[in-house]
Amino acid sequence: MVERGRASQRSHGMASQRSYGTSSSSSQDSRTRCKNCYRKFISFMCTQVGVGGLVVSYAIMGAFAFKAIEEKPEKWMTNRTSLIHNDTIKKLWNFTEHLNVLHKDRWYEDVNNTLFSFQEKIVYVVRKERYDGRSHTEVWTFPASLMFCLSVFTMIGYGHMTPRTQWGKIATILYAVLGIPLYIVYFMGMGRVFAKSFKFLYRAMYRCIKTKNKNVEEGEITEEQWEEPIIVPSTACMWVMVFYMLTGTIMFAEWEGWSYLNSCYFSFTSLAKIGIGDFVPGTGGAKDSQTKLIINFMYLLIGMGLIAMCYTLMKEEIMLKLRELKQDFKEKLFFCGVKLGLYVDEQMYPEPPRQQHMHGRTKSMRKSVRRR
């Protein structure tokens, strides 16, 4: 409080200086202009558009960074599989050489076992060491890296592409630590913006329907409208989400050639941020897979906003219901306490009206009711 008084005195002093038109005022002018610009910039960044732009630029920056980190040609990968190949061929040759009179059954058995172990090694290399048939540059294209960054900071985490180098893993952790709070800020803001526009749309539609149904004078309608606050019911939110998921289902089923169930399963697991990763659009290696990745990116961002909107709108209703349940439980506890004799002071609560025949009691009851 004291500081503010001094500050305002200082500004008053500055104003009086400015009115005299001294040379120091021009430098102060530019300083205030700088501060103005800075302030405008910060306040813009804190709006929704600013945060959205920040998120997109963070994703793009991350895509470039991961592309650079993970694109190194890893010769050890091809060496690894050729090692496995050589090993298997050596074993096969041993079997073929040793059996001079080629016992077919024995040979079949041995070769089958060798192939099975070869297969197991391939499975290990693909699953644990993330071997891919393609080279690194083919895997870590720009749209694919963008999807990877999106899957990191939206916490979906598909896992169809993961960092293999040490630096890649450390970079992922740092990227997530900075990106997740940013994304949460975006998410909450988007929820609020969408919730406001949805409420506005809902109210407009509600009023349209009401004016159509009721053919009464305008005066009565506006009074009624202003009286009842229109709360968006949770079912409307659920319908919006179901509709959005259906859109996604049809879109991905048409483009990727998945069945409708698989498409629905993918939309749901992506929007719910589970992100299992067995289905990812744009990884089929088709021609326009890059544009598909970007469309998936937009679909997910908007979908997240819609989920935030539903969360914001439904939170109030759910909180109310939870509070009612909590009150119920507390009431029960109090009642149990009463039964156990914890609350000895009998005048704190009146007797139920059933036992009203005693005159003295009714008087005290009436008194306590009036007191409240």
Binding site: R4, S8, S11, H12, E97, R130, I274
Partner: protein
């Protein structure tokens, strides 16, 4: 407060009496009321902390059983069958190659076998990546602990993906399981997070052995704890208000937990420490890539029993970790809101200075008082 509860009790008794009078028959009404009472009591209990924890664990186990049956026993063995056919075809082919070359010329034989193996590999790799082929049949893959981890990854939205449902029934079950499980998880996190946050605050303020005031906080009339912006009381002479300590403490708690998980998993799964910490962090932040997941290695280094117990302990670790993350969010929320308010106040202070230049001498005290409160 007691009178308010008393009023509730009175009203409820009146309501029940009215209900009993309306229904008439005393026996059925008491039975119905008992049933309704029991239901209400059960739901109210379930929403307390103990109830929610139990509910989450029960839901997890239920999911484990369900997925074990749906994906394990009624599972889809087509990729394994395909791989077996491929292998048999490959053996035939190699036999034909061996037969054809009458005098066994090694180099030519090797060339053809290399080509054959390369083709075989190119068939198997997409089978592994897209169809989820793992070399073992679904019955063995979907053990109880593996299904437990899968259920956990669905309703905590981690979503590893190392195990994915192949059957249609499995996919539909996953969707329904997630729809019911995610609100439950949110409830669990908010309830348990609140308790843990209160415990942490209690320990913290006790451990400092200091009053809230000397830390740079004061209690407003409504009971909320606010940081001191300007030295209001004479007490806070070390008046640089150490507001940022709680945030760093929260992050430290999470970092320690990730570190503990890293050490444990590095020991068990024979990963490097970086890999294990990476796994812990990616799981706790619910990203959940699934490239590193505790489980059976293909070469069968770990014992079956060992792997099962390790996976169960991993599930418990992740559940406790989610609660800790919720606690940190709870604690950091107040701090960040206060910091943001201070930040806005600073911005606003630049703005207010300009606009109140003119009328400053009359009411500067008034404006000052207004700002100090907000």
């Amino acid at each position: 407060m007691q009178t308010a509860y008393a009023r509730m009790v009175y009203e409820r008794q009146a309501r029940e009496q009215r209900r009993g009078a309306a229904e008439g028959h005393r026996q059925t009404s008491t039975f119905k009321t008992i049933l309704k009472d029991a239901c209400r009591r059960l739901i109210a209990f379930l929403f307390t902390q103990v109830g929610v924890c139990g509910l989450v664990v029960a839901y997890n186990i239920l999911g484990a059983f369900a997925f074990r049956v749906i994906e394990g026993e009624m599972g889809d063995p087509r990729p394994e069958e395909t791989a077996k056919e491929l292998r048999e075809q490959m053996v035939h082919r190699l036999w034909n190659v061996t037969l054809r070359l009458n005098v066994l010329e090694e180099t030519q034989w090797r060339e053809e076998v290399v080509v054959a193996l390369q083709e075989y590999q190119e068939f198997v790799v997409p089978l592994i990546k897209t169809k989820g082929y793992r070399g073992v049949y679904p019955k063995e893959t979907w053990s109880f602990s593996a299904a437990l981890m899968y259920s956990l990854s669905v309703y905590t939205t981690i979503g590893y993906g190392n195990l994915a449902p192949r059957t249609e029934l499995g996919k539909i079950t996953t969707i329904l399981y997630a729809i019911v499980g995610m609100p439950l998880m949110l409830l669990y996190m908010s309830n348990v997070g609140e308790i843990l946050a209160n415990i942490f605050k209690f320990i913290y303020f006790r451990a400092c052995r200091c009053d809230i005031g000397s830390l740079g906080y004061y209690r407003t009339a409504s009971g909320t704890i606010r940081p001191v912006t300007v030295s209001q009381n004479g007490q806070s002479d070390e008046s640089s208000p150490r507001r940022t300590i709680p945030i760093t403490w929260c992050l430290l708690v999470i970092a320690i937990y990730v570190g503990i998980g890293g050490l444990i998993f590095a020991q068990w799964e024979r990963w490097s420490v970086l890999d294990a910490c990476y796994f812990s962090y990616i799981s706790l932040s619910t990203i959940g890539f699934g490239d590193l997941v505790p489980g059976k290695t293909v070469e069968g280094e770990n014992d079956d029993q060992e792997v099962e117990s390790q996976q169960i302990i991993c599930t418990v670790y992740l559940l406790v970790g989610s609660a800790l993350v919720a606690m940190c969010f709870n604690l950091m929320q107040e701090e960040t809101i206060e910091n943001l308010k201070a930040f806005w106040r600073n911005l606003g202070c630049l703005r207010k200075k300009k606009t109140r230049k003119i009328s400053v001498q009359d009411g500067h005290e008034r404006t000052a008082r207004y700002d100090g409160d907000g």
